[in-house]
Symmetry: C2
Subunit: 207 residues, 2 copies
DNA sequence: ATTTGGTTTAACCATTTGGTCAAATTTAAA
DNA sequence: TTTAAATTTGACCAAATGGTTAAACCAAAT
């Protein structure tokens, strides 16, 4: 049945996702993925010819979870403060749902810096530059209007992403050192951050 | 000679550092480390009985680069704004000198969240809690004095570290997407951040 | 000159790992 | 029912990998 096939493929991808995200490309074992998917190792190679192909697929899937929302928000016509609010809320939620992805991505960034860029450009295509330019234009307009203090768009974007993503990436340290490794406390800390980060950023840039 | 011995050990640690930081624990190969150190693989095992022992040593060295300065700054008697300035300046410098370390650390965080915590606690020892408390007390005092707006110390610390560390960790993406992958531009971007991050943070928390 | 201790090497080894292949099984079509 | 195609499996393989060992080497002390 086609259903069986889909099932197998889904089981493989789920298992691969789990193993790759936790152990990285080099740490992952095809055997472990096969076991976790409840199938034979040969079947794994039947569906994905090599470890690399499988990894690429999983990596692509991971990255694409985050791109559409970003595009949607950045391309929308809202004023900057609203965009910020949307971005921060949506991404903290998204990251809470997929906590392993940022570490996973950063992991592979070290190993192969070009790889992600290719994927990124494939997903964002030509818009990439226009994207940045659009946000830049908007920000500089709001500066002229006197809503914002003069600010460098690149630094601002970097800061917002840093404030949202870093607490997920560094969770084990922060949770350990500042929250006595209490998972629940850290979860509510992350929830608090939605409001906190937003006002932190706005405070800093508003006139 | 003792000199020869030191030489070999240094060569080993340098090579190991390079390979581990770029490829992670699982991606690194003992043979590659030996080659890069210009020695035999057996000699590697003579100095460090196993890959794990060698890795632990390298990891420890990496982490300890960042801890003393942090302690020094946090334990000093300066007012908060000066502490912030010191921290941001020193850490952006330190990270520029050791750009691979944050990614390296985060890498291993996924694989073994407990490992870093142990090292951290070994280095920071009992002070750990007192450290946080001290900063907290100072901040809440300055809030009372009316220098700062009311603020959660944990969020503030998280934010500052995020703003400083994240641009190093995510360098390949940010440099690629926002700087057309131009290394020099990104280097000056990092330098600019010293002033930018400081005023960004202070703007946000000052009354 | 000989012994002694640490250092370095080459040759090996057992295990793991990604990957293959031919046969068996299942599914869908004729 | 037969046939053809896709799916799944178990047995197997070559290469890579971390690690061992016994012997060679070498500097310094006796």
């Amino acid at each position: 049945m086609d259903n069986q096939q889909k099932d197998t493929e889904i089981k493989i991808l789920d298992a691969a996702k789990e193993v790759f995200q936790q152990k990285g490309m080099t740490g992952a074992r095809m055997q472990e993925i096969a076991d976790k998917a409840g199938i034979n190792k040969s079947l794994l190679h039947y569906y994905y010819r090599s470890k690399e192909k499988l990894f690429e697929k999983v990596f692509n899937m991971a990255v694409s979870i985050f791109i559409p929302k970003m595009l949607e928000i950045m391309l929308s016509e809202k004023p900057l403060f609203e965009k910020l609010e949307f971005f921060i809320n949506n991404y903290i939620d998204l990251l809470t749902k997929h906590p392993y992805i940022p570490g996973f991505v950063i992991n592979e960034l070290n190993r192969n810096p070009q790889f992600l860029l290719n994927i990124f450009e494939k997903n964002v295509q030509i818009k990439e530059k226009k994207l940045f330019e659009r946000v830049d234009v908007q920000i500089q307009e709001e500066v002229k209007k006197g809503i914002l203090n003069p600010i460098d768009t690149r630094h601002l974007i970097t800061n917002v992403i840093a404030l949202v993503v870093f607490p997920m990436v560094a969770r084990p340290i922060i949770q350990g050192v500042m929250f006595e490794n209490d998972k629940k406390q850290y979860d509510s800390f992350l929830k608090e951050r939605k409001a906190f980060v937003l006002s932190f950023v706005i405070n800093s840039i508003k006139v």
